[in-house]
């Protein structure tokens, strides 16, 4: 027995000793980015430029993988190799802000001379050793730190502040500048270092290969579509025994309750409120909404995380005492009031008669500063947190807010309406910025009567005078155009 054990250990040791560790100087790169974001309250303005340094690494097909937050809102990107003085300009080929990953391309293909692309491994085991590589603060050369995998769970990705995916926690030091660098195990990338916990010692996180693979598969068709969802809000209600009787679910069943089906989602055709989902594909769902996967328990969303938008899942659910099975197509299903921070694209706006209208977004709310969630007007807070329940109109594309008033005689009495969401103009409901633009393009009415949410009085604007003043106001305040409607809603 003793002899057998010795042989096994010797074999493993030999294996470790004989594997050539990759020369990471040939794969890990420094990324320097000049950034400039937008002002979401005065949307034609840009903020001051800032400079950022992060890490990345070379993968197959002469691509560089890094974090989206290293290159978001970029104006210029430089990639540098270890011990090589030359700086190579780069551009973003694909970016997934929701998963904080990006692929860069470098036009000068000589950059890749002498480099070695890294391969991807699997999800690491808890307590296994990992090494992080990158260019963190405190020096100019590649840094390596070692630690173990502490735990694996689903968590918020702070880059957008809204999207949750699997993360791997490690005690290997991850510091500013490490972001985008590879986390290695057995010569393979098992994660991309991307965020840490400031209030703690040695709690760093990496993006695991499950998420990286989803991103890389997604961009195979030349476009990034993002992660999808079921399009429902779920509640772990079966901890309460009364739910079993109320929803006529057999006593030994485990699952989660549907509390809301998102408007315009593919789930509308399949699920309804009070359905109890018990199985997703071949995975049984427990009363916490967890499934057994990757050798442990994770949220059932992990099944959807493995699939691309447009792919299907099979759901088993109980409704009115009956067990049903249905196929559901995974969709993007973003909320009407976007929770996630937006990057890269200039905000859309309408600026008419000095009244500036923007889409209600997290970026706009964050213009209130660090404590924005406390400081924002209560109507906006209510819409932000509950837009999926408050909006019952399937034509709504966004909420529109009066973000700024460029003072002029035409709007001298409009101050009381600032930061209020616009409800209608001359009785026509405002479902998007396009509706605002169309309303002001209509010159038939004598007045534009603007009605705002939670405001008892209307704001009337004299139509003819407003059109006369508009050009003057735009010129006076250096506004490049009265409406900018490009980009996504």
């Amino acid at each position: 027995m003793k002899k057998t054990l010795f042989v096994l250990i010797a074999f493993l040791s030999a294996g470790i000793c004989t594997a050539e560790p990759p020369d990471m100087t040939k794969s890990v790169v420094m990324i320097q980015t000049a950034k400039q974001s937008y002002n979401y309250s005065t949307p034609w303005k840009q903020q001051s430029t800032t400079a950022g340094v992060g890490s990345g690494f070379i993968i197959a097909q002469n691509r560089i993988l890094t974090n989206a937050h290293n290159i978001s809102d970029n104006r210029f990107i430089i990639v540098k190799k270890e011990n090589i003085a030359k700086k190579y300009p780069a551009s973003v080929e694909f970016v997934g802000h929701d998963c904080d990953l990006a692929v860069l391309k470098i036009y000068d293909q000589s950059f890749f001379d002498g480099t070695e692309p890294l391969d991807f491994g699997q999800l690491p085991k808890v307590n296994s050793t990992v090494s992080t590589y990158g260019f963190p603060m405190g020096g100019e050369h590649i840094s390596v730190t070692e630690g173990v995998v502490s735990r694996i769970q689903t968590d918020i990705y702070v880059h957008t502040g809204a999207d949750s995916h699997l993360v791997v926690q490690t005690d290997a030091a991850i510091n500013p500048g490490n972001s985008g660098g590879p986390v290695m195990q057995d010569g393979k990338v098992i994660g991309v270092a991307f965020q840490g916990m400031l209030a703690a010692d040695n709690i760093g996180y990496m993006i695991p290969t499950t998420v990286i693979r989803h991103f890389l598969d997604d961009i195979n068709d030349g476009r990034y579509d993002s992660f999808g969802s079921l399009g429902v809000t779920l509640f772990p209600g079966l901890h309460n025994d009364s739910y079993y009787d109320f929803l006529k679910i057999p006593a030994d069943t485990q699952g989660v309750i549907v509390t809301n089906v998102i408007l315009n989602s593919s789930a509308e055709k399949v699920l309804q409120k009070d359905d109890c989902i018990t199985k997703i594909d071949d995975y049984d769902i427990d009363n916490d909404g967890m499934i057994a996967i990757y050798g442990t328990k994770h949220y059932m969303s992990e099944v959807i995380e493995q699939k691309q938008i447009g792919q299907k899942v099979i759901l088993t659910y109980w409704r009115n005492g009956q067990k049903n099975t249905a196929e559901l197509t995974i969709q993007l299903n973003r909320p009407i009031f976007e929770y996630a921070r937006l990057y890269d694209n200039p905000p859309r706006y309408v600026c008419f008669a000095g009244l500036t209208f923007v889409s209600a977004s997290r970026n706009f709310l964050e213009t209130w500063g660090k404590d924005w969630l406390k400081e924002i007007p209560h109507t906006l807070r209510y819409l932000f947190s509950d837009s999926d329940k408050l909006n019952t109109d399937r034509n709504r594309k966004e909420y529109v807010v009066l973000s700024e008033i460029l003072s002029d005689e035409i709007n001298a009495y409009a101050d009381g309406f600032i930061n209020k969401p616009l409800e209608n103009i001359n009785g026509t409901p405002i479902m998007s910025l396009d509706d605002v633009k169309k309303a002001f393009e209509n010159k038939d009415a004598d007045f534009y009567i603007l009605k705002f949410m939670n405001s008892d009085r209307p704001l009337p604007i004299e139509a003819k005078k407003a059109h006369q003043r508009n050009e003057f106001i735009l010129k006076k305040y250096n506004v490049p155009a009265w409406a900018f409607m490009e980009g996504q809603i």
Binding site: S242, A412, Y413, G416, F447, I449, D456, R457, P458, L459, P460, I461, E462
Partner: protein, 369 residues
């Protein structure tokens, strides 16, 4: 060099005249008030809001009562909100006199307290609130301390104002005394010369709010027959009508320069059945409202029109001149009010245990403002 003596003499003369004038205006009613103001010792025993079957810990406070009959005193209502026991101490009587609340009106912030006639050794001398508002006039205030000593202080009448109440829905008239020599917020008696002016209801930054004589006299008249009707409450809200474009849109002619926009009409309160959202309120009881909603009161100068509702007793007549459907219209109606419990989210709930029920360990209760 000129002789400086004549100038010196003039200065001394002026100072003498000034100090004579100051001394002449000062009135001290400390002695007079011994039989008209009392000390209130109040024990509070309210209910916890999250677990409403529990009482809060007993706390104690104090206030001043001003005699309005031989055994009745008034004090601000907020002073005795959630009072479990009120005991009265008066000058020259060592033992506490038991007392009970006869009428309490949180909207006008006044309460009538009746002293146990069997324990009152000699009748109180009722005060007559008769002083008229005079901007800039010196006012004195009086209170009886826990050790039965009458204290006094002074200040100056700065303004008459209609400000939002910290608790009540109604916006009442308050006088504001400035540069007051002590904090007065729990019923201290304010006098102008020898005439009672009102009772103190709030204090902040060397200023004090005074419930004026008119409000006190209305309250006492209302309470006289034993059935209390209460003050009027607005059944609508307004916003300023400064925007000339909104006036144009509402087709108000140029000669009508004032008025306020009726921005909301409630289901309860004065005007709730008669006014409509979008009306322009031009005048109340013949008093023209400016674009902020103020009118010129002959005595108090500019006041918000709320005064014209809250200074009346429910059931009295009131007239609104409005602009509706491109023409002026007159509405005659009666002043109404409502119990705070009729509000969807009541602004306050004092003196009673909050209603609740518990099912499956979940506590359900009415939402309070």
């Amino acid at each position: 060099m000129k002789n400086p003596r004549p100038l010196f003499a003039v200065l001394i003369f002026s100072l003498a005249v000034f100090s004579n004038a100051s001394a002449k205006n000062q009135t001290d009613l400390t002695e007079v008030m011994k039989n008209s103001i009392v000390y209130l010792n109040i024990s509070y025993y309210g209910y916890e809001q999250y677990q409403p079957w529990k009482n809060k810990e007993i706390s104690e406070g104090w206030g001043v009562g001003c005699a309005v009959t031989e055994n009745q005193v008034i004090t601000p209502a907020y002073n005795i909100a959630n009072a479990a026991v009120i005991e009265v101490k008066r000058f020259g009587q060592n033992e506490f006199i038991p007392a009970k609340i006869k009428i309490i009106d949180y909207e006008s912030n006044l309460a009538l307290i009746e002293l146990d006639p069997n324990t009152v050794r000699k009748p109180l001398i009722p005060l007559k609130f008769s002083a008229k508002y005079k901007k800039g006039a010196e006012v004195n205030f009086y209170w009886l301390s826990a050790i039965a000593q009458v204290y006094s202080g002074r200040g100056y009448l700065d303004r008459a104002t209609i400000d939002p109440s910290p608790i009540a829905f109604s916006r009442m008239l308050n006088f504001v005394a400035a540069n007051v020599s002590d904090n007065t917020n729990n019923g201290q008696l304010y006098c102008m010369g020898t005439e009672p002016l009102g009772i103190a209801c709030w204090s902040s930054n060397k200023e004090a709010g005074i419930i004026p004589a008119d409000a006190i006299n209305r309250f006492l008249a209302d309470a006289k027959d034993g059935s209390y009707n209460g003050i009027g409450a607005a059944g609508f809200s307004t916003t300023g009508l400064l925007d000339p474009v909104l006036r144009k849109y509402l087709k108000l002619p140029d000669e009508i320069r004032d008025g306020v926009y009726v921005s909301d009409v409630y289901t309860i309160g004065t005007g709730c059945n008669e006014l409509k959202k979008g009306d322009v309120l031009l005048s109340v009881d013949g008093f023209k409202l400016n674009s902020y909603g103020r009118f010129v009161h002959p005595q108090y100068d500019a006041l918000f029109f709320d005064y014209l509702i809250t200074s009346k007793t429910a059931g009295e007549k009131i007239t609104f001149d409005i602009w509706r459907d491109s023409k002026e219209q007159k509405i005659e109606t009666l002043v109404k009010n409502f119990d705070v419990s009729q509000m969807l989210v009541p602004w306050y709930d004092f003196d009673s245990q909050p209603q609740y029920f518990i099912i499956g360990g979940c506590i359900l209760r009415k939402s309070l403002s």
